[in-house]
Amino acid sequence: EPEVTQTPSHQVTQMGQEVILRCVPISNHLYFYWYRQILGQKVEFLVSFYNNEISEKSEIFDDQFSVERPDGSNFTLKIRSTKLEDSAMYFCASSISGASEYEQFFGPGTRLTVL
């Protein structure tokens, strides 16, 4: 069964460093999303992406964040200069359509720890 994959599963970085989190969405899906969950808190929406551009983003997704689909398979989230409060689980999701009746398939997450 097709699934969303994410790498790495866990990344530890120094504050101020750039990180790139990678996701491979399901191959025929067209909409891509990033979410994060700070330990003990709720899942928060970061950004959605369609047709090679951001379609929606939250207040959390500031200038430190960027997303890219560098090739036909990968979808990346870059954090330019990490802060301690960026430590969280980051989930990638994809869906075949952006309409509400189509569910999103979540990846297993990348745990980012910023020291």
């Binding site: 979410y35 009746e101 569910e103 997450g109 745990r111």
Partner: protein, 113 residues
């Protein structure tokens, strides 16, 4: 292998009906189970359950966890068309000092007027 299984995958009922959504799980070092409602893009948090047998309630929605049988149910009474959404179950656990969260595939609920 850790997993979260939701059932049914899809459900269509008439307005006013009561529905029960199921979530069963197997996870290392269980911490909590979470229910989300997803209508458009971002899931909306509904409940976090950590203790067995204690019902959490919010309006027409309620949920309970059974840690012995490893499942949770989400009940919605007197359903309304606005309840139409995908309902996601997620389980937090820990393995080898890593925290992990596993999402189920969701139950797609459609309420007919």
């Amino acid at each position: 292998e850790d997993k979260v299984v939701q059932s049914p995958l899809s459900l269509v009922v008439h307005e006013g009906d009561t529905v029960t959504l199921n979530c069963s799980y197997e996870v290392t070092n269980f911490r909590s189970l979470l229910w989300y409602k997803q209508e458009k893009k971002a899931p909306t948090f509904l409940f976090m359950l950590t203790s067995s047998g204690i019902e959490k309630k919010s309006g027409r929605l309620s949920s309970i966890l059974d840690k012995k049988e490893l499942f949770s149910i989400l009940n919605i009474t007197a359903t309304q068309t606005g309840d139409s959404a995908v309902y996601l179950c997620a389980v937090e656990g820990a393995s080898n000092r890593d925290d992990k969260i596993i999402f189920g595939k969701g139950t797609r609920l459609h309420i007919l007027p």
